[in-house]
């Protein structure tokens, strides 16, 4: 597993131009689809001459230095000419990242992300509804052996990673910055867990900082890697809708979790469902589907009823517990509505992970 000279030169160039890209007002995706020399002439400005010279001077020795620098921090490199490069990413065409930097445990790090992986994305300012749904769906997908991809941001992203990890599943975090450090920093604990049980991927090298444009650019990598992009909760202007838009461009499914109408954090997802508008642009209606749970998602990828979400919870319930679970699902969804004689049954349901209690005593049926 390695990266070839032209691809490394390409990455070197983008890293060299990072500051120039940050200042641009054009969409970063379009920039990243340009040829090397086009990029230099478009962004170079005053530095144009010097950049052309430096580009010409980039040698095999420089490429080797990059490979060594990556190896030093245990980052594996794979370029788009290599066989281990995830084939589904090539759907991004010219925008496909030249080199992927991957961190992970030894056997996993060289394995390309499977092409039936599911991306779960959404807003940082998620509500408990969104976080609960993200964790639940990710957990069920993981239990069905599906890899969950997300961006490790607070809110939905983290909930998805955590949900998958909790089920012992594989999960992939696509970072905007260097792959060997956690971003954002307060997600360090989550980062370590992902790195231990999954993969952390970035299109930039270990020496880069996290640029704002890169946060937007990595959305295309998330969409490109996944067979379906599921948007859990997103306000009207949300990065998650950019991911959905890229999924559309890669001709992939877009799954959307419907939210309460009028709730700002679900404004973008509901708009996507109603008007097929993602990131202020129209997407193909045929590709957008409302999803309620992991089963809906698996049915979209594999066809109806081919892959089943294993029922982790219900098998272990007594008749009384199942009865109470049905009642909660039917609308008695607050602990204060459960009569005293059933309370210990409710506690058993909580203990078995069939029901979760939220703030205010709201009850949510899990895994259904």
């Amino acid at each position: 597993m390695t990266a070839c000279f032209p691809c490394l030169r390409r990455r070197w160039l983008i890293e060299r131009l990072a500051g120039h890209i940050e200042r641009q007002r054009t969409m970063v995706e379009n920039l990243l689809g340009l040829e090397d020399l086009e990029l230099i002439s478009l962004l170079g400005g005053r530095d144009h001459e010097e950049l052309v010279r430096a580009y010409a001077r980039f040698s095999h020795r420089d490429a080797e230095a990059q490979r060594e620098a990556a190896a030093e921090v245990q980052v594996a490199l794979v370029c788009r000419c290599a066989q281990e490069y995830p084939a589904q990413l090539l759907a991004l065409e010219a925008m496909a990242p030249a080199v992927l930097s991957v961190c992970g445990p030894a056997p996993l790090v060289n394995r390309p992300v499977p092409d039936d992986a599911v991306a779960i994305v959404g807003t940082r300012g998620a509500t408990s509804y969104g976080c609960g749904a993200a964790a639940r769906i990710a957990g069920d997908l993981a239990a069905a052996g599906v890899t969950v991809i997300s961006g490790m941001a607070p809110g939905i992203d983290s909930a998805a990673h955590e949900g998958a990890l909790a089920q012992g599943g594989a999960t992939v975090a696509v970072l905007a910055g260097p792959p060997q450090t956690a971003y954002p920093v307060r997600k360090t604990r989550l980062y370590r867990e992902i790195r231990e049980h999954g993969q952390v991927i970035s299109e930039l090298g270990p020496a880069m900082a996290t640029w704002r444009w890169a946060l937007r650019a990595r959305n295309r990598v998330i969409a490109g890697l996944a067979a379906i992009t599921v948007v859990i909760e997103a306000p009207i202007r949300s990065g998650a809708l950019i991911t959905a838009w890229h999924a559309d461009r890669c001709r992939r499914w877009i799954g959307v979790l419907p939210g309460p109408v009028g709730h700002p954090q679900s404004g973008g997802t509901n708009l996507l469902l109603a008007k097929f508008v993602a990131a202020r642009d129209h997407v193909e209606p045929g590709r957008v589907r409302a999803v309620r749970n992991a089963q809906d998602i698996l049915d979209l990828i594999h066809g109806e009823g081919i892959v089943e979400v294993p029922d982790r919870v219900r098998a272990a319930l007594t008749p009384g517990e199942s009865e109470l679970l049905r009642r909660i699902a039917a609308g008695d969804d607050n602990v204060t509505r459960i009569e005293v004689s059933s309370l210990s049954t409710l506690a058993a349901l909580e203990l078995k992970g069939a029901v979760a209690r939220g703030p205010g005593g709201g009850l949510t049926v899990l895994g259904g």
């Binding site: 509500t127 408990s128 749904a133 607070p154 607050n334 204060t336 309370l343 210990s344 703030p359 205010g360």
Partner: protein
């Protein structure tokens, strides 16, 4: 001429004897009081002068020096008036000074010679008995309170003339029989007023039976305060000793007084209260709300709004049952054995879990809000229960229960607890395995586990189980307080 009269001052919650000495000698007319008195004591000169003259006695036009001994003890308040006047009359020969040796006087004088009530009569009476005083003279409407102390003759008088008569034994007006000051507040609040709210009622019962602290979580206006106010009605009544203790504290604080407090106190300080207001303090240290709630209920509504230092100050008193205030070289101890009931909204907007989608708080908002409450104070709260709006049909139904029924169960449970005190709580095998799986899920800390077992033990006592059954334990798990770590990832 010289004379001395005994009186008492209150130091924290303790009576301290003070000897009022008066010396009269020829010289330019003057009236000086020494002995570390505050402004009220200095002003006492004017009250004593007017009261003596308006009661038909002569105020000696000589050099008068009064000393409040021990001179090292700071003295505050107008409670020395009566003793000063009596000593002055004795020193000026207007009454035989021989009679003022085994008598103590306590009260403030008005300008026309009436004796006015001063806080702390009960504590003073206890101090008088302790010091072997035969007769205590107090203002009339504190007579009942002072008479709660047995083995002491109490004279309840109206004015300075009566003080002299009572001191010389000419006429000793008997105090009114001790009154029972059952609540000074509203008429008795009863659980029979409550509709719906089955779960909170259960939590109140468990809290009362095991003296567990309780957190009520629910949207505004759903009845958290209403429920908390009814908690004293299901607690066992105060015993004689406890009642005296409570009465003493309240009397000294100038709240209530005049009789015995039989009902458990309920204090609901506003959230702007300072740390000193909560646990006691001030230049002359006074009892705080936690002490005024001693043997009763301290209710903190809107827990998140209380200042951090105030809540932090409550930690040690909640654990130890007393607060020690140190001022200069003195350390004063105030008892604070309270049941803490706290109420809070579930989230910043208050509507989480209300069933509709009114709550628009994000998970980060929730965490931030919870973190404000979080910390060592929550660690001392065993029970947490959600309070939600009762449905229309629940409101129409008759009440579940009355305070009397619940109190009976609480008393039985406490009785059983007393018999079990020495034994460690034992779990039935099924309960043990349930505890295991709950602990293995990782939601419980070791401390949380102990708390669940403690609550389960109380529930077992309520149900009359000798050992903790699985059902008792499940109920305790349901009523446990969730830590901040458990909150995220839970859907509303």
């Amino acid at each position: 001429m010289f004379s001395r009269v005994l009186t008492f001052t209150i130091d924290g919650l303790h009576p301290r004897p003070v000897t009022v000495e008066v010396d009269i000698r020829p010289g330019l007319p003057a009236f000086t009081i020494v002995g570390l008195g505050d402004a009220a004591v200095r002003e006492s000169r004017e009250r004593v002068r007017a009261a003596i003259q308006n009661s038909g006695f002569d105020f000696p036009q000589q050099r008068i020096t009064a000393n409040l001994a021990p001179a090292s003890l700071r003295k505050a308040g107008p409670g020395f008036d009566a003793a000063l006047a009596l000593a002055l009359l004795a020193a000026s020969g207007q009454m035989p000074s021989a009679y003022v040796t085994d008598v103590a006087v306590f009260g403030e004088l008005s300008l026309n010679g009436e004796l006015r009530a001063v806080p702390g009569a009960l504590a003073v009476a206890e101090g008088a008995r302790h010091h072997g005083i035969a007769r205590l003279i107090v203002p009339r409407d504190r007579g009942g309170e002072a008479a709660l102390v047995e083995g002491l003759q109490v004279a309840a008088v109206d004015g300075l003339r009566d003080v002299v008569d009572a001191a010389t034994g000419v006429r000793i007006p008997a105090p009114p029989p001790p009154r029972e000051l059952t609540p000074l507040r509203e008429p008795e609040l009863d659980l029979a007023d409550v509709r719906g709210h089955q779960l909170p009622l259960l939590a109140l019962e468990v809290a009362a039976a095991g003296a567990h602290n309780l957190l009520l979580e629910g949207p505004p206006g759903t009845g958290k305060t209403m429920l908390a106010r009814r908690l004293p009605s299901i607690l066992p009544p105060l015993g004689q000793e406890e009642a005296l203790e409570v009465t003493r504290i309240h009397s000294i604080a100038g709240q209530g007084g005049g009789g015995l407090m039989r009902a458990r106190p309920f204090r609901a300080p506003h959230h702007t209260i300072s740390a000193a207001g909560m646990v006691g303090g001030g230049p002359v240290p006074r009892a705080g709300e936690a002490s005024l709630a001693h043997r009763g209920v301290l209710f903190l509504d809107e827990l998140a709004e209380f200042a951090r230092p105030t809540l932090e100050a409550l930690r040690q008193p909640l654990e130890d049952g007393y607060a020690t205030i140190v001022r200069g070289q003195r350390a004063l101890t105030f008892p604070t054995r309270v049941m803490l009931v706290a109420a809070t909204n579930p989230c910043p907007c208050g509507f989480a879990g209300a069933g509709d989608h009114r709550c628009q708080c994000t998970d980060a908002d929730l965490l931030r809000y919870r973190r404000r409450l979080s910390g060592p104070l929550l660690d001392r709260i065993d029970l947490m229960v959600n309070v939600q709006r009762p449905s229309a049909s629940e409101l129409a139904r008759p009440p579940h229960t009355t305070s009397a029924q619940v109190r009976e169960r609480v008393l039985e449970a406490r009785d059983r607890a007393r018999h079990h005190e020495v034994l460690k709580p034992t779990l039935e095998p099924a309960a043990k395995s349930a505890m295991r799986s709950a602990y293995d899920r990782g939601d419980l800390s070791p401390r949380g586990r102990d708390r669940v077992v403690r609550v389960a033990q109380t529930i077992a006592h309520l149900h009359g189980h000798a050992r903790i059954t699985e059902e008792d334990l499940m109920l305790a798990l349901l009523l446990r307080q969730r830590t901040t770590a458990e909150l995220p990832r839970m859907a509303a």
